[in-house]
Every structure is written in structure tokens, then in C-alpha cells.
Point group: none
Chain length 208, copies 4
Amino acid sequence: MNTPLPRWQRRKDARPAEIIQAALTLFSDKGFAATRLDDVAKLAGVTKGTVYLYFENKEELFKAVVRETVVPALEFAETLVEEHQGAWSDLLWQLLSSWAERMEHATSSGISRLMIAEATNFPELARFYVDEVVVRSRRLFADVISRGIQSGEFREVDPMMAARAVTAPLVMIKVWKQSFSLCDTEPVDLKAFARFHFDLLVQGLRHR
Amino acid sequence: MNTPLPRWQRRKDARPAEIIQAALTLFSDKGFAATRLDDVAKLAGVTKGTVYLYFENKEELFKAVVRETVVPALEFAETLVEEHQGAWSDLLWQLLSSWAERMEHATSSGISRLMIAEATNFPELARFYVDEVVVRSRRLFADVISRGIQSGEFREVDPMMAARAVTAPLVMIKVWKQSFSLCDTEPVDLKAFARFHFDLLVQGLRHR
Amino acid sequence: MNTPLPRWQRRKDARPAEIIQAALTLFSDKGFAATRLDDVAKLAGVTKGTVYLYFENKEELFKAVVRETVVPALEFAETLVEEHQGAWSDLLWQLLSSWAERMEHATSSGISRLMIAEATNFPELARFYVDEVVVRSRRLFADVISRGIQSGEFREVDPMMAARAVTAPLVMIKVWKQSFSLCDTEPVDLKAFARFHFDLLVQGLRHR
Amino acid sequence: MNTPLPRWQRRKDARPAEIIQAALTLFSDKGFAATRLDDVAKLAGVTKGTVYLYFENKEELFKAVVRETVVPALEFAETLVEEHQGAWSDLLWQLLSSWAERMEHATSSGISRLMIAEATNFPELARFYVDEVVVRSRRLFADVISRGIQSGEFREVDPMMAARAVTAPLVMIKVWKQSFSLCDTEPVDLKAFARFHFDLLVQGLRHR
DNA sequence: GATGAATGAGCATTCATTCAT
DNA sequence: CATGAATGAATGCTCATTCAT
């Protein structure tokens, strides 16, 4: 039989993703506590009851948001490192610029701020995030630095420290933008900052 | 039998500071919304009613916390810049190391994370914080960079960009520590990082 | 074993009226401030939350009570005047007696006292009540008097003054009954008083 | 020794009266529940603690207000009746007009509305008020009517009913004025209404 | 599956009352 | 006597969660 499925049934599979997307938007903007499930539901085009059909409670929804949103982003970068040939500083720039790019458009880029705000209230989730995102991306950059050192392109520095020094500013600028965009009278362009940061970095990492 | 303890004491002068301190602790730890005034009161050794004796409502208490704790720290740094003589990179180090120092001990150092988390929910407060803290400290560092450029010590860069590049990593590391201290398996020493960051910076800012 | 009773039932249509009725009862008895929403809810057979499902807050509930209960009563009287034929004093009696009648039975008759008590605390509501009830009923009686004067049945008096003189005693007696029923050792019969008042009035209004 | 007493000691005797006066003002305006003791104290020029020096609690203060305010007013009228000679309708006018007069100026004239509002919450006080004011003034007028009937000046009516018919309108108009003065677009002059009411009455009471 | 009416625990806020000073 | 800091019970309101439909 090729009777088309009724409208709502076809939507069934899409529901969780739509709810997660709505929740991400609101959580990112207002934080966990200040977000009402009613609003999440409305934004997802369903009612409150439906949210509970797919998620046990607000906390589980929050966890799902983080889990679903966060992981895929890194895999792309990891393959980039894996397959890279050529100067390591070129790769560094590739990573930083594509990251800055994604930060400006991806809806998932609000997660950093959200996790920073809620980590202490969700220790289990914080651990997940740290493992899957923070440490992993730190490793990624540490890896690039290490290889650059091995190839003689960079001077000898602690790669993990360097990784922090590479990632922190970009995250921070993004987070600031999110938090204070309405009142900062001197907004930064994320990509311009990435470029500036990169220049500073490579000169700082070069042999003296 | 000794006289029974009085049920309470009049300590009008001490109360506000004690309440602010308690609020700072809890706000920093759990965020604004997740902090109950009952707990603030208990931690301050008073009852909820007393909190309302000194602060109009929860939001005003929040503002007071920010006002009282952040601003003084900056004033110290500003005089340091004013009175400085000698190499600008030395001043930069002085500022960064003393900042890192304070971050490790001062109870006020939780404010950054708090403001990041709550800014969008308290636009008015966010503006206050941006004006009084963010922009002001950015200016401070931009000033140091500018003078370093003028004296020929640093190469020509956009001072405001540089200021962001100087401040962001330290703030970010602190914020990360606060948020993920329980689950980060690779904790960082704030002062060591400050040193590392400084080295990278000065080499990055030097003429090539 | 029979099926356990459901914890609640969906009765969207019935709820608002039930809540208004409960609120009317309690407001009339204790006044606005002394009435707890918890009690209103209990009397309506729901919980506090449900009250807020239908009314934005306590004040809006109060307004709804007034709106729903008083206005309909007046409309009936207005049609009576419109359609009247015959002696105006007969109409006067009809109005007064039916009014007294309703006062004795209608649950809405507690509103006068309530409004008198709360008017200064709810200026907006007071205005609504004055426009929709006080002035309107005054006009109604002024109208009857005017026509009686035109027809030569009554002597020339200021109709608005007369209207006040007609309505005030009945309202006052009702209000007194409500307020002091428990302690007045000389209770009045409302309908008997209406009759007495009417007799006095028509003789007072007649040509000398 | 003729050393003058210290300032505050001289005030001691005046305090209760001042507090009662302040409380009367506020209770009359906002009702019992909506009046804060803090405001009473401020208006009386003392602090909250002082109120409790003279009155056990808010209820007792309320009772004192009613008791102190209410009684004296009637005594004057009673002597007037006692000593009257001449036409009873003249006395009636004297009573009504002086009453209207006092209503317009005496601060105590807000008590009626207050008692109407709070009677059911203060049954004991209601009884006191009914006995000392309501019934007593009703008797006063019933007395005048009775004597007028005996002297043949008025036709035979039930004097207690008539007393209600005499007093109710004046009280009602006053109460209305108080409650709705801010929004009534057709304000009445109390004395003009008293005159109108009197004219209606005497014609209504005259033999046909 | 989906809805949204109903729940009830939780919390901010108020204010009469107390009592150390 | 007088003050006003401190209390704590009371209550309006919110919103995550449940469940009858």
C-alpha cells in the first residue's frame, strides 16, 4: 500500500529534533532556569505535554540539547588534522577561521555560554561536556602544536598550555558577544579577531 | 545558669556586607535564579526578612553584589598604570600576574561567570557591568599596549584588539576552572597559565 | 473494587463561573484583602493554580466578579423602563420591589458593600463600577422621575437628586444588613422597608 | 520646682490621640488591611515600636480608633432633641443640616464606610458600633418622628422605619462620595442633598 | 500520539510583631 | 520612653509535571 502516512505520523520522527532545536535557542538565550517549557513547546510548534512525551523532564531535555548539539562539530576538525599536509600554522589558521565562521552562524555555538553557566548545577552533564568538547578540542589543538614543534616550525612550549591559549580567546569573545551584545558599544568582528589572534599566536610560537 | 542568648543582635553596619558576601558566594556557585533568598539569609546568619531590610528585592541584591565586588579591583589596576615607569612589558606582567593572583583568592572572582550567565536576563545590570568593568579594563590594557607601541617596544597593532587578546584568555581560564573544576581531569594553574600567556604575548607583540 | 476516582476532571467551561462565584462569596464576606486565593480555590473545588489558569491575578479576578455579577441585573431594569406603560409611580414600585427582591436572594447583592470598601484601593475598578452601575442605575431612576414630572404625576424636582434619594436608602439598608446582621438587634425586612420607602417617596413627590 | 518637663514627656499624654488620629485617616482612606502600621506611625510622627507601646496590636488600635472617634458626635444631637421646643420638622432640619455639615468637615466622618467594610471581620467591634452609633442615632430620629406624630405634625408611620428612611440616604451619599469621589463625574453637594432629602421627607410625612 | 486542563510544591515578597539597644 | 533592627508567618504567583480527554 502506498497510502501516504497521516501528517502527524510523518512528523513523529522529527519532533525530538525540533524540540531540541527550540530548547537550544531558548536555553542559549535565557539560561536553563529562566526558560519555561511552555515557551520551548510553543517555539517547537507543539504543546507542553508533547515535550514530556519525548523527554523525561526539563533536565533530561537540557542534557539532550547539549549531547545532540555538541558532538558533531568536532569530528570535522579532527579529520582535518588527521589528513593535513603542509605547514602547521596553515592548519592552525584553517581551524581557527573555520571555527570562527561556524561560531557566527551555527545555532549550536550558544552551548559554550550555556555550559559555563550551568555546569555546577549539572555535574554529570558538565563531565560529559568536558570530555566530549573541552578536553577533546584542547587535545586537537595540542596535537597541532605538538606536531608543529616536532617539525621545528614552533618553538618548544607546553602543548596543553598552548592549546588553552589558542582556544580560550575565541571562546571568550564569542561568549562575551552573546552576553553583552546589547550593551557593548565596541562590538568585535569575530573573524577579524580570529585573524588578529592568529597573527599574535604564530609570532608568539615562532622561534625567537 | 547564664543569661540566655539574645535571639538576635543589632548589627546594622555589618549586615549589608555580610549579606552581599553570602549572596556572592551562592550566586557565583548556583547562578541567580537557582539561588534562594532563604539560603542567602541563612548563610549570612539572618532571616529572609532582614535581607529585605537592606535590599529592595533579589535583583537589587544582585546589582549590589556586582557593584561592591568588582569595581574596587579595577581601581587598583588603574593607579598601577598611572604611576608606572619603565618597560611596558614589565607593567603588562605586573598587571597579569596580580590579576591572576587575585583571581585565585578573591571571592569576587566568580562575578565574571555570573555576569556571563545572567547578562541577557538583566540588561540594565549588563550595561552597568560592561561600562564599569569590561570596557574599563579593556581600556586599561589598550592603554598599556598603546604606550608600548609609542615607545617602540611593541609593533603596531590595533590596541583594542590586543586588549581583548590579552584579557580574554585569563578570564576564560578562570571561568572554565570555576565551571568545570569538578570534572576537568587536567586542571590548570592560573598563575602558570598567566606566565605562559604573557610569554606568548610579548613575543607576539614584539617587532619581527 | 471499582475504578479509583480521577484526581480531577476537565471542565474548562464551568471553571471560570465557579471560581467567580466562590470569589464573590468570599470577597463579599471578608473583603478583598482578607480573602486568600487558596480559599477561593478550595471553595470552587480546584487548586490555586487553576485560578491562575483563568484569571491573571487577584485583582483581575476581582474585576471579573464585579463585571459578571452586577451588570446583567441592570439590563433587566432598563428594558422594564423602556417598555412601561401606565402610571410612573407604578413603575417606580415595580423597580423598587423587584430590586429589593433580588437583593434578598441574588448572590451578587454583596457587591455594593465590597465596592464601597475597596474603591479607593482600586481606582480603575471603581471607575468601571461607577460608570457601569452607579451612574447607570441613577440615570434609570432619574429617567422615571423625569417622565413622571412631564406627565404631571410628580411635582418639579431635580431628577438626579431624586434618583439619589430613591436609590440610596435601599442600597444603604442592604449594606447595613450585610455588615451588621450579626449584631443588629432590630433587623429590618428589606421588602417591608422598600414598601415604606416607596410610600414616603410618592407622597413626597406628589404635588402639594 | 518649676523646671518645665522635657519635651518628650510633655508629649506623652498626647501620643495615643495622635496615633489614633493618624490611624483614623489611613484606615478611612485605605481600609484596615491595606493600612500599614509603618505608615500610621510615620503619619503620627513616631516609629512603629511606639505604636505598640500604646496599643496591643493592630486590631486593638482599630478598635480604639472607632471607640474614640465615634461616641462624642451623638451626644450633642441628643441634647438638641431633649431641649427642643417648636415644630418637629424644624428640629429634623436642624439635625440633618448640622449632620451634613459635620460630615463635610469632621475627620471622624470616614468611620461609617470603615465600619461597613470591616464589620464582618470585627464582630465584637461591630456590635459596639451598632449599639453606640447606629441604633442610638436611629433611636434619636425615631424619637423625633414619634413626637411629631404625637403632636399631630406627622401622619402615623412606623417611627423606626422612618428613622432608617431619614438616616440612610445621608449616610449613603457620604459613603459614596468617599468611595467614588475620584471617578464620579456627577458629584453631589452634601448639604444641597440634605435639603432636598428633607423637603421630600417632610412632605412624605405630612398628613395627606 | 497529542493536547492542555489541573496540580502542587516552591519561592519572592510583605508586614505585624518582638525585643535588643 | 522610644527606637528601629530583626523576625517569621502568611500569601500571591510561577511553572515543572501529571493525567483525563
